[in-house]
């Protein structure tokens, strides 16, 4: 029973990181109808940038964290300008956007490899204060709490932003119908740029949190989370932010339980993807999805 509770807690924590990452995916998909496969690479670069800022830059995590987040957002702007905006001007197919994002992912990843090398690195000791609390037989660290709080805060902030601010409403309008939004005088290209900025900074922050949680950063850390992120948004439904959050947590829990049940971490990923496959086959719109599922 205590083991169960511990697993639940662990799963919840990692699930909130997955959820944060998945929000970036689902935001871009909801607004642009494009799957941005460069998201994972920005996740990686976000984490590595925070690492660089704290080691070579000697900054404290409190400063490095938001800086790296902003930098990731900027990468998102670069991504949009380089890979998606030209295609929009040409009215290219969504498939082209997907391929373009793959190209950018490769470029970002090679940049990460080139700048940071292929080794696995970690944040310096004591970069954050990590207290350990025990309740009954359950262990919770302040790091974990910090991660969940950050993730929840950002998700909440995003939700409020989308509901209350003018830009947020503009984003939702474009997600609903780009054509109508244009007719209403909304600067669609600007809205898309903002969307990418938000999506990518969330992705980068997720990378920092992930690196802190697992105490490891590597240029290919995006690889494993990329597919998980996809599984999360399929599970939660494309284009749905609450779906991404719930899906992320559900996914984190299922991962943790799979490891606990099978005693090995090998099959963990396989279960995840089999679930993804099953959902795609059975109920592609996911749990809370609102995306168009049938061909237009």
């Amino acid at each position: 029973m205590p083991v169960l509770l511990q697993q639940l807690i662990n799963g919840f924590f990692i699930g909130s990181v997955y959820g944060l990452f998945a929000i970036g995916y689902t935001l871009v998909f909801g607004v642009l109808d494009i799957l941005n496969l460069a998201h994972a690479a920005i996740f990686t670069l976000g984490g590595l940038t925070a690492l660089w800022l704290t080691t070579a830059g000697g900054l404290s995590m409190w400063i490095a964290f938001p800086l790296a987040g902003l930098f990731s957002g900027t990468l998102g702007l670069v991504l949009d300008q380089a890979a998606f905006a030209p295609l929009r001007r040409r009215a290219a197919s969504n498939l082209s956007g997907l391929i373009s994002s793959i190209a950018m992912a490769i470029i970002f990843e090679s940049a990460a490899l080139g700048i940071f090398g292929a080794r696995t690195v970690r944040f310096p000791e004591g970069i954050i204060v990590n207290r350990v609390w025990r309740f009954e037989s359950v262990t919770v660290t302040s790091l974990q709490v910090g991660i969940v709080l950050s993730a929840l805060f950002l998700m909440l902030a995003l939700t409020v932003f989308l509901k209350r601010t003018r830009m947020g409403k503009a984003i939702r309008a474009v997600a609903e119908s780009e054509h109508t939004a244009r007719l209403l005088g909304i600067n669609v290209d600007g809205v898309i740029a903002v969307t990418f900025f938000i999506s990518s900074s969330l992705g980068g922050v997720a990378g920092i949190l992930y690196g802190l949680y697992f105490d490891a950063l590597a240029p290919d850390m995006g690889r494993s989370i990329e597919l998980k992120g996809l599984a999360v948004i399929i599970l939660g439904g494309m284009g749905s932010i609450p779906g991404a959050i719930l899906g992320g947590i559900a996914f984190g829990l299922s991962e943790v339980f799979t490891v606990a049940l099978t005693g090995t971490s090998n099959l963990r990923d396989a279960v995840a993807f089999t679930v993804l496959l099953a959902i795609l086959i059975l109920k592609p719109s996911g749990l809370l999805g609102r995306g168009r599922v049938r061909e237009a």
Binding site: L35, A82, A83, P86, L87, R90, A92, N94, L95, S96, L98, I99, S100, I102, A103, M104, A105, I106, I107, E109, S110, A111, L113, G114, R223, L227, L230, A231, I234, N266, L267, D269, A270, F273, T274, L276, L277, L280, I281, L282, P284, R292, V293, R294, E295, A296
Partner: protein, 292 residues
């Protein structure tokens, strides 16, 4: 003199030539699916299934090579049918995701199952494949796909690719043809995987993962998907390119990886029909000029 030169050339570049042929075949397997407007990121996994299945058959059950290859082709085709039928009823991007997930499941299975040799791979597969077999298969497959493009099936693929709704009201059963394109792609990929497995005594799970799947996509985009020669061209250039770069002093690593990415980006942005669009005339589909 020529014979000596040739045999020296083959000794040095033999494995590269084989590798190019294999990559061209794999690129063609994706080409078929793309020609119907569908994106599959699972063809590397299908090749893996074909390779492992046929390798196991030859090694453990002493199945003759041709039958082994055939089995390696049919098994992934059946799997593709099972995945394709439900998924192809819905939007294209879902097939991309489903095949992405599928690819990972296959890779993990290959790493963890005993019969596939785990992470070390399947070792000791008899060497039965020759360059002649590779290029013979490549030629036959290219011819087949070229003719297919001008047949009713090929025209259906092209219509679906252009506008699926218009294709439907023209009488095309789009789900049927999309599935066919997907399954045929899996067949060719599996066949190639089987051939490849018998080339170097060993196959490993890493060769059939996500990066391999992306590579196939790059061959097609760079070479162009308007003509059957596009993917072959793309495979040739991008397989030979690292060798050329190596000669120029650029070794494997971030730079080479980055170059791949840049090439893909430039092509998709500025040359959407790929490099082969420099050769063929625009708008001329398959059978129109080649029909007679």
């Amino acid at each position: 003199m020529t014979v000596e030169f040739l045999s020296q050339f083959l000794a040095v570049y033999g494995s590269l030539i084989n590798f190019i042929g294999v990559n061209a075949l794999l690129a063609l397997s994706l080409y078929v699916t793309l020609s119907a407007g569908q994106l599959s990121l699972g063809n590397a996994a299908f090749a893996g299934i074909g390779g492992y299945a046929s390798g196991i058959l030859t090694m453990h059950l002493n199945v003759p090579y041709p039958i082994s290859v055939l089995a390696g082709a049919f098994l992934p085709a059946v799997v593709a049918l099972l995945i394709g039928v439900p998924v192809l009823r819905i939007r294209g991007v879902f097939l991309a995701m489903a095949t992405l997930a599928f690819g990972e499941v296959v890779r993990i299975a290959a790493v963890n199952l005993g019969i596939t040799g785990g992470a070390q791979g399947l070792v000791g597969i008899p060497n039965k494949t020759t360059t002649f077999i590779i290029y013979g298969t490549l030629a036959a497959t290219t011819y087949f796909l070229k003719v297919l493009g001008g047949a009713r099936i090929g025209w259906s693929f092209a219509s679906i690719r252009e506008d699926e709704t218009a294709a439907k009201v023209m009488g095309i059963n789009t789900t049927y043809y999309k599935t066919m394109a997907f399954v045929l792609g899996a067949f060719i990929a599996g066949m190639t995987g089987a051939i490849y497995a018998h080339l170097n005594f060993i196959i490993t799970p890493g060769e059939f993962g996500f990066s391999a799947a992306v590579q196939l996509l790059i061959y097609n985009i760079v070479g162009g998907t308007r003509s059957v020669y596009g993917p072959v061209l793309g495979a040739f250039i991008l397989t030979a390119l690292p060798e050329v770069l190596r000669g120029a002093g650029v070794t494997a690593g971030p730079l080479r990886l980055g170059v791949n990415g840049v090439i893909l980006l430039l092509v998709i942005l500025y040359l959407p029909n790929g490099l082969s669009s420099f050769f063929g005339k625009k708008g001329k589909l398959h059978a129109q000029r080649d029909g007679e």
